[in-house]
């Protein structure tokens, strides 16, 4: 576990480097263009959210970075290696919208799975599992089975499992999309704490604007048909972020900026600053 050490200037080697990534799917109904000309560079330790409506290709982009699918064209580099090499070197941690826990394994055994695959020696493995479960505050639930846990707890187990290999890159695909708003906000805070403790780079797919703004150092706004990144917004809210952040003026400004960018309008900072109408919108329903 490293202390957070995030340089403000981007170092020479980005954690994720995407150049002119294109993705086309061939189906019987014809070709669909899922992604066009994606260019994005993410520094080590950054927290980048991909936000956009359904069908904008944000999950596809995450899968391309994770080498679960191959792009039609373009360059994908993770820590200076190809995405495939990075996957083989086990540099990824993945969390999906569903926890995808194995119901025949208890909590401990679920978190242990990637370590078993890695062939880690038993005593170290046990220590690591314990450490990861304490990180997500589930240390006392090691012997429970997934069906005995709430949805939020299951997702925390999934996060512990994703972190077990100490990945340099954590890929999260709408991890809290299926949870209620209260649980989601609590887990947002927890993810930030884990991110700060581990110093890992995170790519986070979501369609919740407040979630994206609260968590990220940068928000990449995507639009559909064809999927592309239309804007990248620096969410330079002070760290560490907490409940007070959610009530700050700057937070509302950023929420508005992301929202207007999603609508395809350029955010006009001076016009929206501190308006009460804006605050109402920021607190309104999201999605």
């Amino acid at each position: 576990m490293t202390t957070p050490d995030r340089p403000t200037t981007r170092p020479a080697q980005p954690a994720v480097h995407l150049v002119d990534v294109n993705m086309r799917f061939h189906t019987r109904a014809g070709d669909t263009t899922a992604l066009t000309d994606i260019n994005l560079s993410i520094a080590p330790g950054e927290f980048v959210s991909l936000i956009g409506p359904s069908g904008c290709g944000k999950s596809t982009l995450l899968r391309i970075v994770g080498d679960l699918i191959k792009p039609t064209s373009g360059l994908v580099e993770v820590n200076g290696k190809s995405a495939h090499q990075a996957r083989v070197c086990r540099e990824y941690g993945m969390v999906f919208q569903a926890p995808v826990l194995f119901d025949w394994r208890n909590v401990e055994a679920n978190v242990r799975l990637p370590l078993e695959l890695m062939g880690m020696e038993r005593r170290r493995r046990e220590a690591r599992v314990k450490e990861m479960l304490e990180l997500v505050e589930l240390g006392s639930f090691m012997r429970h089975y997934p069906h005995q846990l709430s949805g939020g707890m299951q997702q925390r187990v999934a996060i512990a499992r994703a972190l077990a290999l100490e990945p340099t890159l954590l890929l999260m695909d709408e991890p809290f999309g299926a949870l209620d708003e209260m649980t989601r906000e609590r887990l947002n805070a927890e993810v930030l704490r884990i991110w700060q403790q581990t110093g890992t780079t995170v790519i986070f797919v979501t369609h919740s604007i407040p979630e994206a703004v609260f968590l990220s150092t940068r928000v990449a706004v995507m639009t559909p048909r064809p999927g592309r990144i239309t804007n990248v917004i620096e969410t330079d809210l002070p760290q560490p972020r907490n409940e007070a952040t959610r009530e700050s003026e700057r937070y509302f400004e950023k929420v508005t900026e992301v929202r207007e960018s999603l609508r395809g309008r350029r955010a006009d900072k001076t016009a929206t600053k501190g308006s009460s109408e804006d605050r109402l919108r920021a607190e309104g329903p999201v999605g």
């Binding site: 899968r63 679960l68 990824y92 990637p114 695959l117 089975y145 069906h147 290999l165």
Partner: protein, 294 residues
């Protein structure tokens, strides 16, 4: 939490036992009730009771459908004239022999099914090439096939086991194929993100996920293997076993119909017993998690 879960678990057990008792009592009542209405007249020698049924139905005579107490008492009598072995002892020996044969067939069939399903799931080409034949194999009646197997492999244990295997491998193959395909596609993606090999995915995800499916098939296979063995023992020419006993008592039906009925009861008890054995194994193995699928 565990205490709460354990407490009501006793009740379904009790209820199941009551249900089974109720079924057996009802079954006996219908059997004897039918004979009361349309069977042969009978006399209880001890108290001099005599009953004349109001109707005469050919199918309900003592030869066609013996009294349950006659079948029960047949168990205590010598299994054939001048034998110093009673029917119960004889049938237990035959049942154990049959169960042994059935178990070998069951084990071999389950293993073949497991391996076949594992191979077919990993190769679309082999699946398309083989699955139609796997299905077609089960459309041939086993009674027609059994003599051919005996011609090919000779009279004896081998042929009987092959027949039992033949009935066992099919449900296991089909169910395990489905079970191996049952994991969430994201579970497979997750394993890929750990750079897991196909073998790892099979070992850690597909195989454990298929266990409930496997047990569903094994329960079917347990009953099928006993039936296969009993059918196979006829043309298979083995000197022992329930199939042999059924053939013998069938020939002696006129002189002792109770013996055949007793053998049939034992044969079905063997099938049910084997089924329950598999069910017990299932409860022990699939104790946690999703539970059984059927």
């Amino acid at each position: 939490m565990t205490l709460e879960r354990d407490a009501p678990r006793l009740r379904p057990g009790v209820r199941r036992f009551l249900g089974l008792s109720l079924f057996l009592v009802g079954f006996a009542l219908i059997w004897e009730g039918a004979k009361w209405l349309g069977g042969d007249p009978w006399r209880l020698t001890g108290i001099g009771y005599y009953h004349q049924p109001p109707f005469r139905v050919l199918q309900l005579t003592d030869r066609q459908l013996p009294h349950l107490w006659d079948i029960a008492s047949a168990f205590g009598q010598p299994f054939q004239r001048n034998a110093d072995y009673n029917l119960a002892n004889y049938l237990i020996d035959q049942a154990l022999y049959t169960l042994g044969e059935a178990f070998i067939g069951f084990a071999v069939g389950a293993l073949i099914g497991l391996v076949l399903a594992s191979v077919l799931v990993h190769s679309g080409l082999l699946e398309r090439a083989f699955v139609p034949y796997v299905v077609a194999s089960q459309t041939v009646p086993i009674v027609a096939l059994a003599p051919l197997i005996v011609v090919g492999f000779g009279r004896g244990l081998t042929s009987v086991v092959i027949i039992a295997t033949y009935l066992t491998f099919f449900p296991v193959t089909i169910a395990v194929m489905r079970g191996l395909r049952s994991p969430d596609p994201r579970a497979v993606e997750l394993m890929r993100s750990y750079a897991a090999s196909k073998w790892d995915v099979y070992r850690k995800v597909r195989l454990p996920a298929s266990v409930p499916y496997l047990f569903t098939a094994l329960k079917i296979a347990a009953a099928a293997s006993v039936v296969g063995t009993i059918i196979g023992e006829g043309p298979g020419g083995v000197p022992q076993g329930l199939g042999r006993a059924i053939l013998n008592f069938n020939q002696q039906y006129i002189t002792g119909p109770e013996k055949l009925w007793a053998t049939i009861l034992v044969a079905s008890a063997v099938g049910v017993g084997f089924f329950l054995l598999v069910r017990l194994a299932e409860v022990l193995v699939v104790r946690r998690g999703g539970g059984s699928v059927a």
